[in-house]
């Protein structure tokens, strides 16, 4: 079997997880726990993907060797060594050649440079999962009303390498009503007017007048800027039904705690506590996680059947106990062609029905500096 065929077979097995969940979801009341039959063992597929990656990605094979892990002996997903997110900056992590690349998603850049790159061969499963899970979190399965969806981000044309904006675009294309304008961030400095607040308020007003349900998607820092620019002006009368924020604020806007941000968003849009939901994802992953009452919990992030978050000790990299804080190692069955296990820098705590994110791992005290050699060498 060719590499492409092997990859395709693994993608199909991963897709079966999404399909099974979609089927079960359709038979479940909104907010209720979805009971589904997994098409196969999560561990079995995760380990098969790890074996595939060990044979096709030399860097991953070296990681296994360095961690003394025999890919053929793997039986549990948690034992697959995580690829640190920094590695996506250092080298290409891909099971296919450059000419087979469909898209490269990139992390947001620092002031002088290096961005992590996640090369993607096919987006079929990623988009499918985004629609199923995003639909559930945003309550689309139960909505018959045309929904106006607005994003406080650049447009896909302006940011073709943003995985977040691709996901937003996928959801908007499937569930969104036609609106005159969808994206309200333009290229340029957000502090200097790149966020088009007046146009955004106008768009909400038009949607409200048309009797449309409205949803606002955005990065957390964009919401902070929006709230600052509104200066306390309430938008509660404009019928926003849900607001979804993602990511942190540090370094991109004034630093605001998650609870404070959600309270401010809810107040500005007149939302109930369940109307402000959060998404957790990253460029290096293909799957997302939602914290949404419609997905089962307004306090914990929900793991879909095709992705798991394992809290690991940052030094031993082994799983910590239930309820203990660790670093998130994400096992993502949709990352067939890159890294099935990704070691993030996010502190998480797993609590049975889901996990909570507790901010970034603080890292060592600053000595020297943490810039990459790639950045340094230019």
């Amino acid at each position: 079997m060719s590499l492409l065929a092997k990859s395709g077979a693994l993608h199909r097995r991963a897709r079966a997880f999404i399909a099974a969940y979609e089927t079960a979801l359709a038979q479940t009341a909104p907010g209720a726990r979805v009971k589904y039959d997994a098409p196969e063992s999560f561990d079995a597929l995760a380990c098969d993907i790890a074996r595939f990656q060990a044979r096709t990605i030399p860097g991953f094979a070296r990681l296994l060797q360095a961690r003394r892990v025999d890919p053929d002996a793997l039986t549990r997903a948690v034992d697959v060594p995580g690829v640190p997110t920094e590695a996506f900056k250092a080298t290409r992590i891909s099971a296919f050649s450059e000419h087979e690349t469909k898209v490269i998603f990139r992390t947001s850049g620092t002031t002088i440079g290096a961005r992590g790159e996640h090369a993607i061969r096919t987006l079929e499963n990623d988009d499918y999962a985004s629609l199923v899970l995003g639909g559930q979190a945003l309550g689309f399965s139960s909505s018959d009303t045309p929904t106006a969806i607005f994003a406080l981000t650049l447009s896909p044309e302006d940011a073709p390498d943003s995985s977040l904006i691709h996901m937003f675009d996928t959801i908007i294309a499937r569930y969104g009503a036609k609106t005159a304008r969808t994206y309200f961030l333009e290229k340029g400095e957000i502090e200097k007017g790149a966020l088009k607040v007046a146009a955004f308020v106008d768009a909400l007003t038009v949607a409200h007048a048309a009797g449309q349900r409205a949803i606002v998607l955005g990065t957390s820092f964009a919401f902070v800027h929006l709230l600052d620019m509104l200066g306390g002006r309430p938008l509660a009368h404009l019928g926003v039904d849900l607001a979804l924020h993602t990511g942190g604020t540090k370094g991109r806007s004034r630093d605001v705690s998650r609870d404070e941000l959600e309270a401010d968003i809810a107040r500005a849009f007149g939302l109930s506590s369940e109307g402000c939901i959060a998404e957790y994802g990253m460029t290096e992953l293909s799957s997302e996680f939602y914290r949404s009452a419609r997905a089962g919990s307004s306090t914990l992030y929900f793991e879909p059947p095709w992705a798991r978050v394992v809290a690991v000790d940052p030094v031993t990299l082994t799983p910590v106990g239930q309820g203990e804080i660790g670093i998130a190692k994400v096992i993502d069955l949709l990352n067939v062609d890159s890294a099935v296990a990704v070691l993030t820098q996010d502190r998480v705590r797993h609590e049975g029905q889901g996990f909570d994110i507790l901010g970034r791992f603080p890292g060592a005290p600053p000595r020297g500096c943490s810039l990459s050699v790639e950045e340094m060498l230019g």
């Binding site: 020297g368 500096c369 990459s372």
Partner: protein, 351 residues
């Protein structure tokens, strides 16, 4: 001759070589994260070189530093990581001001207090935490610490609204340029990276190796062997959990991106694109052939030159030295194996 400088150095010599030496080494190692052998190596190598300064050299240093503005007082906020840096800081301050005070870090207190004690209150006074309002107009505050710590003092000085100067001795790191793959060179580099367990700004973290990829592979293999040997001579100390976590991430990334040689207490990696290794005993090597080495250094100096505080070379190569002086003006250039033992010639970072 600045009599105060000479008096202090003589008192320090007596204290660090007399009966109290062993007790002081034990006390410092109980406080520091370095191993006892690591502390002793600092005494035997770094401090020994500094205290071997001749009277002529001290006079020259005093004249040179004293020729700059002489503030009414210099207050030193001492380092938490490199305990021995207190000696040099006090000497440089005494050379410039009639009044010198120190605030030792709570994490590196023993050595600084010992020095202040032998110096006597006539030379150095100790303040646990000194409000800047108690300093005379025109005084200088030298802060040995992180950028954040320096910023705190700058803010405080600015709020004072008086003529107080804050001089930051902040983050920095060393690089090494290696042209020949020899045992002595690799051992020297391993020593430089092992003294202080890379906590100091003079410690090498990156190595530019002149050679092709295969030669680079051979070099890092040999370098790893040097680290293995070094561990038996100067065991690594205790690292903070955050540092150990960074090392784990770095090791994984290094393995994925290129070649990683890892022992119980060190990592040596080779690739063209990789993050800066964390402290501990970790070196990242980039190999560059021919003229590409110079071009890489040139690009590197443009983006990172301001953070480089020490450059180790094999010496004897005038062309390399000329290039480095041009690319990294005012940066210390050391012989490999002596990167952590600069003579008492001014501030360690030359800032």
């Amino acid at each position: 001759m600045n009599a105060r400088v000479l008096t202090f150095v003589e008192r320090a010599r007596r204290a660090l070589s007399g009966e109290g030496r062993e007790a002081l080494i034990a006390a410092v190692s109980a406080e520091a994260n370095l191993s006892k052998e690591g502390v002793r190596a600092v005494f035997d190598r770094s401090l020994a070189v500094e205290l071997a300064v001749s009277n002529d050299e001290l006079e020259s240093l005093s004249r040179r530093l004293g020729s700059t503005r002489s503030p009414p007082e210099i207050h030193l906020v001492l380092s938490s990581t490199v305990f021995s840096s207190a000696l040099r800081a006090i000497v440089c301050a005494l050379a410039r001001s009639e009044k010198v005070s120190v605030s030792p870090s709570s994490e590196a207190r023993v050595f600084a207090m010992a020095l202040a004690h032998v110096a006597g209150r006539d030379l150095v006074t100790v303040h646990e935490k000194r409000p800047l309002s108690t300093l005379a107009d025109g005084s200088e505050i030298h802060v040995f610490g992180s950028s954040e710590t320096i910023a705190v003092f700058e803010d405080e000085a600015s709020r004072e609204g008086r003529a107080l100067s804050v001089v930051g001795h902040g983050p920095g790191f060393g690089i090494a340029i290696v042209r020949t793959d020899e045992d002595a060179t690799r051992d020297a580099l391993a020593l430089d990276a092992s003294l202080f367990d890379q906590e100091g700004c003079l410690s090498p973290r990156l190595v530019f190796f002149a050679g092709n990829a295969a030669a680079g592979e051979a070099f890092v293999r040999g370098l790893a062997a040097s680290f293995e040997s070094m561990e038996t001579i100067i065991p690594r100390g205790t690292l903070a959990p955050e540092t150990l976590a960074e090392i784990e991430r770095y090791a994984s990334t290094a393995a994925i991106a290129g070649t990683l040689h890892r022992g119980a207490t060190y990592c040596v990696s080779l690739s063209s694109q990789l993050e800066m290794p964390p402290i501990g005993r970790n070196l990242h090597v980039v190999s560059r052939e021919g003229d590409e080495l110079g071009r890489s250094l040139e690009r590197f100096s443009r983006t990172m030159g301001r953070l480089v505080t020490n450059i180790g070379t094999e010496g004897g190569d005038l062309a390399t030295r000329e290039l480095l002086v041009k690319l990294f003006p005012n940066v210390r250039i050391s012989i490999l194996g002596a990167m952590q033992t600069p003579p008492l010639d001014g501030p360690a970072d030359l800032r």
